[in-house]
Symmetry: C2
Subunit: 210 residues, 2 copies
Amino acid sequence: MGNRERIIETTLRLMNELGAEAVGTNRIAAETGVSPGNLYYHFGNREEIVRALFDALEHEFRDVLQRDTERPLAPQRIAAFYLRTFDLAWRYRFFFSGTLGLLRRDPVLAGRYQALQSWAIAELDSIATGIAEDGNLAHPRGAEGIASLALNTWLIWSNWIGFLQISGIAEIRRADMTAGINQLFDVIAPYLVPPFEAAIRRAITDEWAP
Amino acid sequence: MGNRERIIETTLRLMNELGAEAVGTNRIAAETGVSPGNLYYHFGNREEIVRALFDALEHEFRDVLQRDTERPLAPQRIAAFYLRTFDLAWRYRFFFSGTLGLLRRDPVLAGRYQALQSWAIAELDSIATGIAEDGNLAHPRGAEGIASLALNTWLIWSNWIGFLQISGIAEIRRADMTAGINQLFDVIAPYLVPPFEAAIRRAITDEWAP
DNA sequence: ACCGGACTAGAGTTTTTACTCTAGACGACT
DNA sequence: AGTCGTCTAGAGTAAAAACTCTAGTCCGGT
């Protein structure tokens, strides 16, 4: 593996441990075992490294959220959404605490993030609409209610990891993951048709089993 | 008004505009119109200024959340909760974006914040329990369901302002405030008895009117 | 053998930041 | 008048951070 990749990996590790703003290029270089000059050969500046990490995050996220959303939407599919997106958020957790700080330092990144966020919320909306059309979402109070559902899902998801970190949790455990998924699911759960809700909860539990 | 208070005010303004990590003590002193030496006469270090701001935030927040919670809980009371806490979060918005960054730099503050957070979630839980005991919360799925409700309320509330800022909103408008309150209310709304829900929505609209 | 491009090292520069230190102004009380 | 405590100014310091510059090394192709 080349130094470029090793620098990216080190940056991810350090920023996850210490927070993005506490990690400088000199430190990254030292911890990777390369010189600052070498780091700046591979990256024009510090933001470019963060952008490379965001690229990876965005790629994975889009892949999880948009892949094979065939109708009717199966409970297993929805359970997979929850599990994979939470795992993803944890692996790139440096991004979900201090997001605004990163975006303020890098307007280019800000634009990309806002685009991803808009896309994600719209995607969540269309997924919820799909569930409603399948007849599994009862009394959703029309399009407005679904939009609210989608936005709340985004808000809980994108801030759960930050909440854990603020609460002083340094290493995620299965229980924290489960709790987050339950929090997220409880946003939509009251609107779901009971058997469908039960099927999703079962699918989540099943996917946990090794 | 003494320099101490003016420094605190300037810090709040600057941090709200630029983000906490972008505001240094020299800048604060310059913008307040005092010398760095003077600033350090009033505050031992940078964190102390932030702590003073947090003290004010905490004081106001506790006041809003715990004051006269007489039973049965009136819709007007609940509407007031929403309106005042959102206003509060906006006024101290520097704190709600980049919370973790602030807490990492100041372990003392981290402890205080975690205590406040725990207290708030417990308080929200007891408020929801009260509503249930009043007979206004239908099928809450027991204590666990209420706990989930309380936590989601906290998550949405404490992150709505950050969401607005990330989305590129620099100045809050009534519409953004309303949207946030609706998002927050939609967490608990599906569980409420319809007339009670309607009464709260009416109270929110009424309180908006001058 | 040697040339060119990709890569690497590491000392150094510049800028910024938190914070210190000394000297003094101002007002109240004896 | 004098003195003591509170407050203020502003030049200065020390550390850290992002980034640059020069001098290479390594290796495949001719």
